[in-house]
């Protein structure tokens, strides 16, 4: 994990030198989506709850930032933090009733949330500017750094992503993380062990919403514009797709998923200008058939197989077999959520 993170950060920080300004923007989007998907992965992959409505939290983050920076002249740094905090609270409150629902009902309730979001945004038009939306100023480059505004946003998003990746990693590795996964694997046993399932489920929903809210804040800054129709149900579906394609029960899956939802629609448009979403839907179904644990799951499986074949050449158990076994174990729990039942 540490190594992977260093790799991502290292490549990420060097990349803009080789990118055109449009590509820089595209990668900024990938990082922003990755932050949102990270939240969704914590919820779906580690806690076993669904959400088809995370677009709503993305919208909350985006609009919080837009309103705070344009109406109240609050610096965007504080706006991002406020967006995260507000999403955390709203997510927690939504999660309170949500913890009563089993998987499918939660999917329904959140799907309703996703469908209702644009309407609600249009309704409170004194705050949100109605269907006209709000135009933001791109944050200016601080300290007189010799980079463009787009490049600055790139570094900002990457930095936020790396911090949040670390946070997620630490959260899931510790006591809270064990409680969260225990609820996924066997809620009754978890409660018998003294885990307050109700509280942890709502908290996980809140944290997950916070990640997505922060992503929304960054998204609003990067695009410099928010409008209700960009937060339609398709956005929520997009997030779920990205999360599943990347691999729900993995932290690195968020980055693959982010790349998927940023680049695949563009390529789909090249394949079929007329019906890009059909290609998108088809890709999704094919993914479900052949790679139910997502890209991250596939990589883990390949790595485990490689480690096994190396281990069979040198029989002494080394750290690699241990790593392979650990990866196997992880894959097993991912399968409980996504793959065929064991």
């Amino acid at each position: 994990m540490r190594l992977g993170l260093l790799l991502v950060a290292g490549v990420g920080y060097l990349l803009p030198a080789a990118l055109s300004s449009y590509q820089t923007f595209e990668f900024t989007q990938v990082f922003i989506y990755a932050v949102a998907l990270l939240g969704l992965n914590i919820l779906i992959g580690y806690n076993g709850q669904f959400s088809l409505g995370h677009g709503a939290f993305y919208a909350i983050g985006a609009y919080t930032t837009a309103i705070m920076t344009t109406r109240w002249d609050i610096p965007y740094g504080w706006a991002i933090i406020a967006a995260g905090a507000l999403s955390l609270v709203v997510g927690f409150l939504f999660g309170l009733p949500a913890l009563r629902f089993e998987g499918l009902y939660l999917a329904l309730a959140t799907f309703a949330l996703a469908l209702a979001t644009p309407q609600v945004l249009k309704y409170f038009d004194t705050w949100t500017g109605g269907s006209q939306g709000i135009v933001l100023d791109k944050p200016s480059v601080p300290l007189g750094l010799p980079i463009s505004a787009d490049q600055y946003l790139y570094y900002l998003s990457l930095t936020v992503l790396v911090i949040l990746l670390l946070l997620a990693h630490n959260l899931l590795r510790g006591r809270a993380g064990r409680a969260i996964t225990a609820i996924r694997d066997n809620p009754i046993a978890a409660e018998a062990m003294g885990v307050n399932a109700a509280l942890y489920k709502s908290l996980t929903f809140g944290v997950s919403a916070m990640y997505t809210g922060i992503a929304g804040a960054l998204g609003a800054l990067a695009v410099a514009f928010v409008a209700p129709d960009t937060f339609s149900a398709f956005l929520s579906i997009n997030f779920l797709v990205g999360s599943v394609v990347g691999g729900v029960a993995s932290i690195s899956g968020a980055i693959f998923g982010g790349a998927f939802i940023e680049f695949v629609p563009t390529y789909a448009q090249e394949i079929s200008r007329a019906a890009p979403w059909a290609i998108f839907g088809l890709t999704l179904i094919i993914f479900m058939y052949v790679m139910p644990t997502g890209v991250a799951g596939l990589i883990r499986r390949v790595a485990a197989a490689l480690a096994r074949s190396m281990a069979s050449e040198q029989p002494a158990p080394d750290s690699q077999t241990a790593a392979a076994e650990a990866a196997e174990g992880n894959r097993g729990s991912a399968r409980a959520v996504l793959g065929k039942p064991d």
Binding site: R100, F101, G103, F111, A116, A278, I285, P341
Partner: protein, 293 residues
Amino acid sequence: MAALLQQIVSGLSTGGVYASLALALVLIYQATGVVNFAQGEMAMFTTYLAWTMINAGWPYWAAFAATLAIAFAAGVLIERVIIRPVENAPVLTIVMVSIGLLTIFNSIAGWIYTYTVKPFPSPFPSTPINLGPTTISLQDLGVGGVSLFVLVVMYVFFRHTTLGLAMRAVVENPVGSRLVGIRVGWMLALGWGLASLVGAVAGMLVAPLVFLEPNMMSGILIYAFASATLGGFNSAGGAVLGGFLMGVIENLVGTYVTFIGTELKLTVALAVILLTLLIKPTGLFGRVAVSRV
């Protein structure tokens, strides 16, 4: 008072549409344990097929019948070809596949028929009929009547035919059903076919009201979800009643709660779903699922 009655009556009429789509959802849920998120888009697509036939000069009811046949066949085909490979996979996988279907149908409809709004003919004239203090249009009466007819047919099918009994048996106990010679896989496919057919009816009934466009069903679908949740996802009768209730709630809230009006229609459905799940998660008529641990 007369105005209130008027709102209730016309609410019941749109409620018939919600009831039909809710029934379609519950049929698939009961038969397979899956909520089909593509149900609305499937209904929308079959409605476009009906539109094509009517525009080609077919009489309305001939197009209606042909559409139902196609919808049924398509439902069976989708289950056999697309859902079957993930039949035993966890819920999330199947939900994802149905969402894939949703985007495919939506996109293909937009590609073939464009996103411009099209009028869809109604077989019923809009002449009003006086019923004591209130009036009801033949259109409303027809929509309510057709949905009610479909629901009765479904009821009779499930309660009083061997095939219906076999389908219920599969839901209750798939292994036992297979042992007595019921072809479980085909019963599931039949469930999808019937749901698709009922959905097509809902689509054709609602199209004259909301006009035909690729996104026309998303609002209807969320109301159908709300209806099924309100009535109970494992009770077909409950879902139907929930549908009529939702129609009435929509109209009354839209008329009498002024800050909601029509602009927050979808939020009303969201509120109904959340409240139902908070107060009585199984819905009005659902059974509590008991499982051994």
